[in-house]
Amino acid sequence: MAAGWEQRLHELVAARGPALVGYAYLLCGDRREAEDLVQDALVKTFTRARSGTDLENLEAYVRRAVLTTYLDGFRRRRRWAAVRHLAGEEEHDPGPEGAVGDRLAVRQALGSLSSRERACVVLRYYEDMTVPRIADELSLAEGTVKRYLSDAVRRLEAELGPLRMTPVDAGGEDHATNVRLISSRRAR
């Protein structure tokens, strides 16, 4: 990254910024907080990244930084948190009434989970990671991850009713690229 890391930061933000914020949003449940998480993760990543790291790996590093920063918990809320109540309710995208309702319900249900349960759910059902991979990412035993997932799904179903866990189609939508976490912690 000796030459032009600023440009690569520009490119990453332009190309993947919204997807990264979406990922962070699933974890933290708040748009502004998600943006802060992503910015902090970008700063961390570009502070430490070595030269020659390609853009895909950079995104993977940023995703991991988002996750660790979220799990850190203490840093989740930033300056805006002091005046968050002044900003009012978040705006929601217009869309089919049912979709918006589901979205709100899912968001609310995710809010009932602990941070680690929530991380496990997002990594498993959004990032499409295997349990061993999640265990590696979170430095947990596989059994612990399974327990988190089991507890989380039970709690989500209590809120949302029966859930289907079918994998998302591999192509055709933005999520297909979102799930590519191509670097583990060991690669950092």
Partner: protein, 427 residues
Amino acid sequence: MSSHHAGQHGLDLPRSLADLAASVHDDALTARLTRQVGPMVTRVRRRRAARAGAAAATAVGTVACVAVAAMAIGGGGVVGPAPVPPASQAPTAQGADGAVDLTCGAQVAQDDLRPHVSGLEITSLRLRDAEAASAEALGVGVRLRNDDAAPVTGDVPVRVAVVADGAVVATGTLTWHDVALAPGGERGVEEEVTLEACDGSALTPGGAFALAVAVSVPLPGGTAAHLSAGLLPFTVAESPGGATAEQRAALDAILDAAPVDAPFGACGTRVPQIPADAPLSLEIDLDDGSGLTVTPGGEIEAITVLWAGEGLRRVVAEVPVDGATVVLARDGVVVGRSAPGGGETAALPVGASDPQVMWGSGAALLCSLPGADGPALPLPPGTYQAYAVLEVRVTQVVREDGTTEARDDVLVVRSEPLDLTVLAPAR
């Protein structure tokens, strides 16, 4: 259970998560992120600089000072061998034996030095290595020529003195072993000389000094020729771990002025005790992944958490929307902070289990005492105690038993301290 279902087969969780993640995408988000690239670049640069500074400080270790020679005996020049003035121009103010007093406190003038005695001559005096020399040890080189004296054999002691304002302030000894200097020959010695400061303290970085040597050459018959040379000016440059005289003076002025009569957080105020019945408590976290360090003058970012005090369920308080101020203290006195921010406040509920997390900010700058003018200087390198400080107006307190009490108390809440190291400036 929620009434939201996606048909008889239930909600598709992966698809719902993807939908929820995608719901944040809009043009406004892209615009906000794009606007943040510049500030992010700044943050990355600053952290990279801090990491580089930390690495440099580690590499340099405790090297204190760098001596830079500017002149040699009797004339201009640079570090390295320099000619001694011809004997005819050399001072001869000394007594017959030419011995010069280079003990602590002795007054030394150029005219007292005798580089040419009894057919022997100090032909050069030099500081060996400007980059490696320090106030504790100087690399000193002396060359001696035997013009027409008897052969010189044996050990030749060389006394080394550092002179400031005409007086010896530090001394050392260089022993030139097994010299064999026949008539017409010339030999030299160069060694690292450990210095002992006369008052027990190190030489002051930034000060101007001069080097003088006295060489006692044994002569046949048990006598000795006492040669001396100097004064070779040098300065002890500021070290990576040092501070400028201006910084030290400013820091001392703040400490001397303490305690300033102002709410805690102002420059020169003393760190107060935290009352046991304080309605609010504040925590600070400075670790942003780069360690608890900051470059001189650098910005300090912190996460602060405001909690309801012991025995309180909820506290409503007006707090600065800019968050907490991070101040740096030395010896229990605020010596570093940035300029006070704006006064905009917002009323916030603070729960015993639902704290308010806020940004904290500061700068590694020497603060300005009330009425003081002038630009803020960077804090001298070293360790300080960082406190998050928040001036709040408490308007309501709800106790654990549910009783509510209206208040109008303006108070300053502080965190416990965290040690923060101001790094040496990058060289």
